[in-house]
């Protein structure tokens, strides 16, 4: 039996290849990123002085949109082709599947964020007063927080009625401390205040919930 | 007695009674279903 990491890598590579093959997906992602930033610019006046204070919140709400869009289709392909049953009877550890899905989502959402960020910077004339490299850490920790729980809850929502709304409904309340952390850390870096505590919060949140997801995913997969 | 005080205490008991009312409603519906079951199997 191949090593668990091998399975994770193989599954991840397959997912990425399938996504990349369809140029539609990439074009829609580009257009989606632009749309979100434009809508936000109309809703929250970029020229106002307060924009630097609220930019952290704006950006992360936009990223949250992107994350939910990505997460909702996490298992769509698997359901269509009844792949999940095959996974259940195979000796492959469930965690490999989970990690592959979570990493795939992470990459997908990170790409969307990378497309949206320059647009936000341009439209809102953003400039980081604090150390800008920390923003990258916050982005990664924050995105992982959303994606790891989101992938888990997407699996839990599979056989529920109103599946599409069940995912955000389950994800948002649990994510509130992480969202507070992401937004506050981003705002702190943009305004030059200290973000260390918030980054520590995000890191510990990620560790705790990644562990919880890995420990419980097998039960959830088999319960379906 | 202060209006807000009354409102708070009243709200508390209204919420509790509303919940108990739903329990009673579900219980009577269950009783009806039990009657149905008993009728269909003599």
């Amino acid at each position: 039996m191949p090593a668990p990491t091998g399975i994770t890598r193989a599954t991840l590579r397959k997912d990425l290849r399938l996504e990349w093959r369809s140029k539609d997906a990439i074009n829609s992602m580009l257009f989606f990123s632009l749309l979100v930033v434009v809508v936000f610019s109309f809703s929250f006046d970029p020229s106002a002085e307060e924009s630097r204070q609220i930019a952290g919140g704006l950006i992360w709400v936009a990223f949250l949109f992107a994350a939910v869009v990505a997460l909702n289709q996490t298992w769509a392909r698997e359901i269509r082709n009844q792949v999940l049953d095959a996974y259940r009877v195979s000796p492959a550890p469930a965690n490999s599947l989970f990690l592959a899905k979570a990493l795939g989502n992470f990459i997908f959402v990170s790409v969307l964020e990378a497309l949206m960020t320059p647009l936000f910077i341009a439209f809102y004339r953003l400039r980081a007063i604090g150390p800008a490299w920390q923003l990258l850490i916050v982005a990664m920790l924050g995105t992982w927080a959303l994606v790891v729980n989101g992938t888990f809850f997407a699996a839990m929502s599979l056989r529920t009625r109103s599946r599409e709304i069940m995912l955000p409904l389950l994800l948002f309340p649990i994510s509130i401390p992480a969202i507070l952390g992401m937004v506050q850390a981003t705002t702190a870096i943009l305004t030059g205040e200290g973000a260390r505590v918030w980054i520590a919060l995000l890191l510990s949140y990620d560790l705790v919930f990644t562990t919880a997801c890995l420990l419980l995913f097998e039960r959830v997969l088999n319960a379906e | 007695m202060n209006g807000y005080l009354l409102a708070a205490y009243a709200a508390t008991w209204i919420i509790h009674m509303a919940y108990l009312a739903t329990l009673v409603g579900r219980y009577s519906r269950l009783k009806r279903e039990i009657e149905e079951l008993k009728k269909n199997q003599p």
């Binding site: 409904l169 919930f209 | 508390t12 579900r26």
Partner: protein, 228 residues
């Protein structure tokens, strides 16, 4: 067991009435807030009861995941439901208290905000239980309960730290409490705990009965009908 229930019901009703009398008449009037402060005697015990119920939910969920006992699953459901009822009361009485004291309905105060997030988490738990197909619901719900419980320290810490950076008026005031007020508070807490216990017990019996009926209905639809 059935005979104990009405007796306990009457005792609880007496205790609740006594606690109410204590709260409205016996407890001393607070000097700055006046009579409105007496909302405290309903607001705080409801919060404590909700927390205890959510803790029971966590324990029951862990027991269910470990042992797969249906009774544990029912306890988890019941404690979450009744916990949400008490939590709703905290969120309703809080603003009613804040309005005359601070002039605003909602302050994003540390405790009230944390309670709101807790309420959201357990409502989402109840929604999952309602919407998921019945075969796997107990396991999924138990997993969500664990996630919710893990989240609680993060909720409290993040909101606390946020508040230290952006201070707001703290509801309920800080500092020590008059021992006579503490006494009334504890009596109300005892009364509401007994009440919560009876409500949970009723809900437990209702759920057990419901599951038995559903099982019987499932069997009846499978079995051939006896000729009339």
């Amino acid at each position: 067991m059935n005979r104990a229930f009405p007796v306990l019901g009457v005792l609880t009703a007496i205790l609740l009435s006594y606690a109410l009398y204590m709260a409205l008449v016996v407890a001393p009037t607070e000097q700055t807030m006046g009579d409105v402060q007496r909302i405290f005697y309903y607001h705080v015990p409801s919060a404590w009861t909700a927390f205890i119920l959510f803790t029971i939910n966590l324990v029951a969920s862990l027991v269910y995941l470990a042992r797969r006992q249906p009774a544990a699953d029912i306890v988890a459901l019941v404690s979450a439901e009744v916990g949400v009822v008490f939590c709703t009361i905290v969120l309703v009485t809080g603003p009613i208290w804040a309005r005359p004291v601070w002039g605003i309905w909602w302050t994003w105060d540390m405790r009230l905000t944390s309670t709101l997030v807790l309420w959201l988490i357990y409502v989402s738990y109840l929604v999952l239980r309602r919407f998921s197909a019945s075969g796997e619901t107990p396991v999924l719900a138990a997993a969500l309960a664990i996630f919710g419980a893990l989240c609680v320290p993060f909720v409290y810490f993040s909101i606390w730290f946020f508040r230290t950076q952006h201070p707001q008026p703290v509801m309920g005031g800080g500092g020590s409490i008059d021992p006579r007020m503490l006494h009334v508070l504890l009596i109300n807490w005892l009364a509401f705990s007994c009440f919560a216990f009876l409500v949970c017990w009723s809900r437990y019996r209702l759920e057990k009965l419901q599951r038995e009926v559903e099982q019987a209905q499932a069997l009846a639809s499978l079995a051939p009908r006896s000729p009339r």
